[in-house]
């Protein structure tokens, strides 16, 4: 179901579920929202330096926002997290690009799920939801159920079921069943039935076969993704164990440890991917190790972190060895500066991301952003992996300015 179709349903559900808002013991609705307007310039591919006046430099307008709806009630809850974009297609400096459809709203749903509380010990979730497995402050090497969609981008969420169990304060257990591929198969079958000249059943089976590799249907359990995790903490230590399994595709257990050593947070996490054969003796290995600390001044704070990531098989990352230094400086209600770098160590290249946000008024931000590719032209980060504009050539630099209001 598309985002546009989901929205009226979700809005209706919210209004019905909330009833008399704020009534004693009844559902309580809350909304947290941001609206933003600005632009991004992207250009300076491998051919040359960034030049805002160049015809190859593209301009994208930023006009949209984020909405987080929440309904909380005794025994249940509902969350709808969505982004809307009014900028439409980006307007480019290149006049040959197609016209824009500015102010036509487009929605993206990150989360839309219902929660049922199972007494005082557990919770059951239905719908689309973000789920973090393992420690995962930068990359969670064991998380294949809902992996990061970009190096620093937010997670997209997975569609399916979730179950949590809380055993005291120290132990949190979670299980999840991902149904994304089942829903994709169902949608593919519907499309095939609607468009093919073949009989509907034959067309659907062909679509399933194409998706699955052999005949099957949307309920085929081979499309499931299962996940289990246990998170245990005692005093300064946190231990996180997880496993993700998809029949005929992968089995990936992971283990992570985090320690708070008097203000220095040290953590390490590793995973082994056994692929389609859980008995294999040579799994692909993944791991991260790092540390983080915060220095507090009279009216500001500085957080520094450094992580190493080992990538045993090409995926989101193409090589094996990476460093992730980052810096966050905060002067509350004045400014925040975040600088993050992903350095590929074999054919050195790096992706540098900066965000400088000024807070000139309460709940108002003026934000300058920059993304830069550094290093050799043949390196992994010779061009921005997710260009913010529909530039016709790869961009190595993106600069943005945005005003944001919080509600």
């Amino acid at each position: 179901m598309s985002s546009r179709n989901l929205l009226p349903v979700a809005a209706l559900a919210l209004s019905l579920l909330c009833g008399p808002l704020g009534a004693e013991g009844g559902p309580v609705y809350s909304l947290s929202a941001d609206a933003q307007a600005g632009f991004v310039l992207a250009g300076g591919g491998v051919e040359g330096a960034f030049d805002p006046t160049s015809a190859s430099t593209a301009l994208a307008w930023v006009l949209g926002g984020d909405l987080l709806h929440r309904v909380e009630a005794p025994g249940w809850g509902f969350v709808l997290s969505q982004a809307f974009d009014l900028a439409g297609n980006a307007e480019s400096a290149n006049p040959s690009l197609p016209p824009t459809d500015l102010l036509v709203p487009r929605f993206k749903i990150y989360e839309a799920y219902a929660r049922l509380d199972l007494g005082d010990r557990g919770q059951l979730f239905f719908g689309k939801r973000r789920l973090g497995l393992g420690l995962g402050t930068t990359f969670a090497p064991g998380d294949l159920l809902d992996p990061r969609s970009g190096f620093w981008d937010q997670k997209n969420g997975f569609r399916g079921l979730g179950l949590t169990a809380s055993l005291g304060s120290d132990l949190a257990l979670r299980a999840a069943l991902g149904l994304d591929r089942n829903l994709e198969a169902y949608a593919a079958g519907l499309r095939a039935k609607a468009s093919a000249s073949l009989p509907a059943k034959v067309a659907a089976e062909a679509a399933y076969s194409s998706l699955l590799g052999q005949a099957g249907g949307p309920a085929d359990p081979r499309l499931f993704v299962w996940a289990l995790s246990a998170d245990w903490q005692a005093d300064i230590a946190q231990l996180a164990a997880a496993a993700v399994y998809a029949p005929d595709r992968f089995a990936r257990p992971s283990l992570g440890l985090s320690l708070d050593l008097d203000g220095l947070i040290v953590q390490a996490e590793g995973a082994a991917d056994f692929g389609a054969d859980p008995a294999t003796l040579s799994p692909d290995l993944f791991g991260t190790a790092g540390l983080r600390t915060t220095f507090s001044g009279e009216a500001d704070s500085l957080t520094l972190s450094l992580d190493y990531a080992y990538n045993g098989a090409a995926g989101l990352l193409l090589h094996r060895h990476y460093l992730l230094p980052s810096l966050m400086y905060s002067r509350p209600e004045v400014l925040d500066l975040t600088v993050r770098t992903l350095v590929e160590l074999e054919a050195p290249s790096a992706l540098l991301s900066t965000v400088l946000a000024f807070h000139p008024a309460p709940d108002f931000d003026l934000e300058f952003t920059g993304s830069f590719c550094l290093g050799a032209s043949g390196g992994e980060f010779a061009a921005l992996p997710s260009p913010p504009t529909p530039a016709t050539t790869p961009a190595a630099t993106a600069l943005g300015l945005c005003a944001r209001v919080h509600f």
């Binding site: 919770q123 420690l135 402050t137 304060s169 509350p332």
Partner: protein
């Protein structure tokens, strides 16, 4: 240290007062009268309920500009920890914190990451003069053992001169956030009015003044806590208790699953 050894040459009025206090069932002072631990327990009972929900406004004044205000809704249990959620300002609305023994977790549903971030207990809470460890504190007697110092007359900004017992609470665990806390406790009802926080090195680096004593249902306690930092000069954080209500908070609140629900 025994309770008798903790009090040197008690004066007659004090002995009478302590004897009377021992008879006050409302105060719940069941331990030996005059015991430093008794007074510390009374302070704990005044400031912290066994299980409660509260709404607190925090105003932070520092050198960076005009004061900034945050409002929290909290749920606490003495034997578990504290859960907080920011209600205002809008920029950070919805951010949640879970303080458990030895650790603090923060989760921002708007950040996009599905994992809670672990914070160090020694760091400042949201740029305030309170540390992360202060936020989840549910009783002093867990981490500190008390002795009585000579009584003093406290010049209280709101109440004027107040005869006080002076309590020195010294860290008895490695996880205690401070080396020592000196408390000025009103003699008449064991109401805490001032606390001075010392680092483990012995350096005095924070002072909290408590005022505007008011009733929240059956509970009477200071509703304003003003913490001044001597380490971060010019930094003052004022917590104002808007409401507090004794309530059985479910155990499931004090688990990371609740934080990311």
């Amino acid at each position: 240290m025994s309770s008798k050894a903790a009090i040197r040459s008690p004066s007659r009025p004090r002995a009478v007062l302590l004897a009377c206090l021992a008879l006050l069932p409302a105060a719940g002072l069941l331990a030996a009268p005059g015991s430093a631990q008794t007074v510390l327990d009374a302070v704990d009972r005044t400031l912290f309920l066994e299980s409660y929900v509260s709404k607190v406004t925090m105003e932070i004044q520092d050198l960076s500009g005009p004061p900034r205000t945050m409002t929290f809704e909290g749920q606490s249990r003495k034997d578990r920890g504290t859960y907080l959620e920011i209600l205002a300002p809008a920029r950070t609305k919805g951010t949640r914190f879970l303080q458990l023994e030895g650790s603090l977790w923060m989760y921002n549903p708007k950040a996009g990451s599905a994992n809670a971030l672990r914070l160090s207990s020694r760091d400042a809470f949201q740029g305030s003069t309170f540390s992360n460890a202060d936020i989840g504190k549910s009783q002093f007697s867990d981490d500190y053992s008390a002795v009585l110092a000579p009584e003093a007359l406290l010049e209280h900004a709101e109440l004027g001169p107040v005869p006080c017992l002076v309590l020195e609470a010294r860290a008895k665990t490695d996880t205690a956030a401070y080396g020592k806390i000196v408390m000025w406790v009103r003699k008449s009802d064991f109401m805490p009015l001032r606390m001075e926080y010392y680092a483990k090195s012995g350096l005095l680096f924070k002072r909290m003044d408590l005022s505007r004593i008011r009733s929240f249902g059956p509970l009477t306690r200071p509703s304003v806590m003003r913490m001044e930092s001597f380490e971060k000069k010019g930094t003052i954080t004022t917590l104002t208790m808007e409401s507090i209500e004794a309530r059985e908070v479910p155990l499931s609140v004090f688990n990371k699953n609740y934080l990311t629900r």
